[in-house]
């Protein structure tokens, strides 16, 4: 194990830890605007992890789409609703303890499953590297139909969002 891979390894673990901390911040911070910023952090960290898995295109898309577009949208929404949250208003509802307990169970169970499952890791897969060109060919090839469907969904969502958000007279 050389130095570089070690650094990368720890870098990944660090990114993961960072992402988890930011994620916890997202769900716990009282100020919604702050949690949105933390979300941005999570998303960027995720993008880094993608990059680490040689999913360069996805990492770029993650940054562009999520951090660029979705985050802007969310922040706009937060601004428009003018409910950033305050000390006086509870930001969590009364079922947080129950939720926490349930989640603990959930994590424990799935954790056990994850560790017990013999994941079939193949060397060939590890060695492969997907280029943007291959992705594009796949989209235009076997996945052309879902691709088109997604485009329709996006248009529908666009129109739908406009219609819903429009002020009715």
């Amino acid at each position: 194990m050389d130095m570089l891979s070690l650094i990368i390894k720890f870098g990944i673990y660090g990114t993961m830890a960072l992402a988890l901390i930011a994620a916890i911040a997202v769900v716990t911070l009282r100020n919604l605007f702050h949690s949105a910023l933390c979300l941005a952090a999570v998303l960027i960290a995720t993008a880094m992890i993608y990059a680490a898995f040689h999913a360069d295109f996805l990492a770029a898309a993650q940054i562009l789409l999520y951090v660029g577009a979705v985050m802007t949208l969310i922040i706009f929404a937060i601004m428009l609703t003018e409910q950033l949250g305050s000390k006086t208003i509870r930001q969590t509802n009364r079922q947080n303890l129950a939720a926490l307990a349930g989640l603990l169970v959930f994590v424990v169970i799935l954790g056990r499953v994850i560790f017990k499952t013999p994941w079939p890791v193949t060397e060939k897969a590890l060695a492969s590297k997907v280029t943007v060109m291959e992705l594009g060919k796949a989209f235009m090839g076997p996945y052309v139909f879902p691709f088109e469907v997604i485009s329709i969904i996006l248009i529908a969502a666009l129109l739908g969002a406009v219609v819903i958000a429009k002020k009715d007279r």
Partner: protein, 103 residues
């Protein structure tokens, strides 16, 4: 593979759990939407991880992830539009103040 697959999965599990916690307990609807984005990200990470480590077609996982990304964008757009419409009508974004379907 630099780190074991299980570690990645545990990470995404924790990320998912955190997002779910947010969904279950946050009162603010925008907060819920943000948490949903967390959960979607967790799922995406899983997809990438599996596509990197199993012998299926390598690009499939990424393609699925991109679809999820697109869906996430639409969810955000439509969801936030609903929030805005709701806010305009009810002047609130807190879930427990919107309970028309209560008995």
């Amino acid at each position: 593979m630099i780190i074991p697959l299980a570690h990645i999965l545990i990470f995404s599990l924790l990320l998912f759990a955190t997002g779910l916690y947010g969904v279950l307990v946050r009162r603010n609807i925008i907060g819920i939407l943000i948490s949903i984005e967390l959960m979607l990200n967790a799922a995406n990470i899983n997809l990438i991880a599996f596509s990197k480590s199993t012998s299926l077609s390598p690009e499939t996982g990424q393609i699925f992830a991109i679809f999820v990304l697109a869906i996430a964008a639409t969810t955000a757009a439509v969801g936030l539009a609903i929030v805005l419409a709701l806010y305009r009508v009810r002047k609130t974004v807190y879930t427990d103040e919107v309970h028309l379907l209560k008995w």
